[in-house]
């Protein structure tokens, strides 16, 4: 265990934000879960007790009749906002006094940094470069993420859970989002920051980042495994596999979604449903491709003269 190396990575000035973000995220997940749980308990209670449902103020927080339903922004909200501003200021000042913003050698195009890393918030995308060609990782993927985020309100037809934390009422939406945000976005950043060392090789935390490390890795293409050699064959085979993934995956998701979210399913139009399917399957495709690469050393699934996937 190379503690020094670990400390070097953790304490690198530009890695501090991501180091700080992980416990922060954990804390807010806890905060959200606590409230979601309280609301879920309340919902269950109200669902079972129609009378109570009529009278209850329907929040997990205490309430007594006579208490104002609305409060003045001044001072009740502003005092919190000001307090938050002060605390953020304090944090920022202390951080700035104690930790210097990194400044390395003057830019030198002739001396490549190894590893050359993007800012931490883009490391997820950089990590994607391992699994996909640059045009997918660098262009298609970010575009899909942005579009995907944007379409969320239009494909989430579940009217429940608007304005309060809940898990039980929105299992599918929250599950999918957590999968995208935590598993795909944050942990990719984590891997890019802490695991990827010189040569963008995989170093477990605590392993020394040895610049001379050589590893033997042969990456094959999926068609090769099946002994397909002709270009047409490869193209067709890949198209079949990818198409197959979308077909089979689509069917599986359909089967799951129809059973577990019948109401949403019912509410959705065909367009909404197919957009949902496309994004969901693409998202699911990512870890599958990653696992294929990391565990089975498979580089491409679909090879065409124009692009490779």
């Amino acid at each position: 265990m190379d503690w020094k190396q670990l400390w070097e990575i953790l304490s690198a000035a530009d890695n501090v934000p991501i180091v700080a973000m992980i416990p922060l995220l954990a804390f807010y997940m806890y905060l959200a879960w606590k409230q979601a749980h309280a609301n879920d308990v309340l919902i269950e209670q109200l669902a079972g007790d129609a009378a109570l449902a009529k009278t209850h103020h329907r929040k997990a927080w205490p309430f007594q009749p006579g208490w104002a339903k609305e409060v003045h922004v001044w001072p009740f909200l502003l005092r919190i906002e000001f307090l938050a501003a002060i605390i953020v200021t304090i944090i920022l000042m202390v951080w700035s006094i104690t930790l210097n913003a990194p400044l390395e050698e003057p830019a030198n195009p002739n001396l490549t940094m190894n590893p050359a890393k993007a800012p931490w918030y883009f490391l997820g995308l950089q990590e994607m470069l391992v699994y996909f060609d640059p045009w997918i990782a660098g262009v298609v993927m970010p575009t899909l993420i942005i579009i995907g985020l944007m379409v969320i309100p239009y494909i989430d037809t579940n009217p429940l859970g608007s304005g309060y934390y809940t898990w039980k009422q929105r299992k599918f939406a929250i599950g999918t989002f957590l999968f995208g945000f935590i598993i795909l976005w944050v942990s990719m950043i984590f891997i890019g920051t802490f695991i990827r060392g010189p040569g963008w090789q995989w170093f477990w935390p605590g392993q020394t980042w040895d610049h001379n490390r050589l590893i033997y890795e042969v990456n094959r293409d999926l068609p090769d495994l099946f002994g397909i050699t002709s270009n047409w064959g490869k193209g067709i085979f890949g198209a079949v596999v990818v198409g197959g993934f979308f077909a089979v995956g689509g069917l599986a998701v359909h089967a799951f979604f129809r059973r577990h979210n019948p109401k949403d399913y019912k509410r959705m139009s065909l367009l909404q449903y197919s957009i949902l399917m496309t994004f969901l399957l693409t998202m699911l495709g990512l870890p599958i491709k990653m696992l294929l690469r990391l565990l089975f050393h498979i580089k491409y699934v679909w090879i065409t003269p124009w692009f490779n996937v």
Partner: protein, 257 residues
């Protein structure tokens, strides 16, 4: 930068837990070395003439003295001196021109530089005396009694070198040497046989043996001393002697050719 890194180190991992901090304790800086006691011994007491001791002795040469080489002085008709080399002067087994001095035992005593100058005469194309001792800084007054020009050219190791010409009847040259140096050769380039040795000593406790090989060093305070005998050809010998107050000890030396 160190302190700032440590401040950083203490603030940042607050979220990660204080455990890390345990390893981050600031190392005690190397302890201040105790001030080194100055090596100088307390200043030596002044010499009390009442208790001063004397060292006397005779320096001999064991075996037959090498035959003194003849010097051909014919190149300068003005040279009318004894034309025998002076590097070994022995009479009856007694060795002359040995410089005897107190080499060790005086500690860091400082001595006044004698005011009077020591005379170095050039006559008969020879130096008189052939071996001499001076206290560092003491003036040597060099005169030329010959009807020819000499030049005086000391070739020291630790002192400054100089080379000056002295025509007949010129005024005396006043020179001195600042640093201790034993057997500092002096020569005249115009008369290559002319050569003598100056011994620059820190203390005034030295003597040069006469033709009878005898010497005497007076006025030494009681103590343990190392007496050194130096001869231009036979090198240096040392002997230890312990002197009580008003002692008079004999220290003889024997050189081998």
């Amino acid at each position: 930068m160190k302190t700032r890194t440590w401040i950083t180190g203490t603030c940042l991992p607050a979220a990660l837990g204080l455990a890390l901090l345990a390893g981050c304790g600031k190392k005690e800086s190397a302890e201040e070395q105790p001030p080194a006691a100055p090596a100088s011994a307390p200043a030596a007491a002044p010499i009390d003439p009442a208790t001063a001791a004397v060292v006397v002795g005779v320096v001999k040469l064991d075996g037959a003295a090498p035959k003194a080489a003849k010097i051909d002085m014919s190149q300068d008709p003005a040279c009318k001196g004894a034309n025998v080399a002076e590097n070994v002067v022995v009479s009856d087994g007694h060795l002359a021109n040995v410089f005897v001095y107190v080499k060790e035992g005086l500690g860091n005593r400082a001595f006044d530089v004698p005011k009077e100058a020591i005379k170095l005469d050039q006559s008969g194309c020879r130096y008189h005396p052939h071996v001499m001792g001076v206290v560092a800084g003491q003036t040597i007054s060099i005169i030329n009694s010959d009807p020819t020009t000499h030049n005086i050219h000391p070739t020291p190791k630790d002192n400054r070198e100089w080379n000056e010409s002295q025509p007949p009847k010129a005024a005396a040259l006043e020179k001195s040497f600042a640093r201790e140096e034993i057997m500092l050769p002096v020569k005249c380039n115009q008369h290559p046989w002319m050569r003598m040795f100056v011994n620059v000593s820190k203390s005034p406790f030295f003597a040069v043996t006469g033709p009878d090989g005898k010497f005497e060093i007076k006025g030494l305070p009681p103590g343990d001393y190392t007496i050194a005998f130096v001869h231009e050809k036979f090198g240096e010998q040392t002997q230890k002697v312990t002197l009580a107050a008003k002692d008079s000890k004999t220290v003889d030396a024997m050189f081998k050719p």
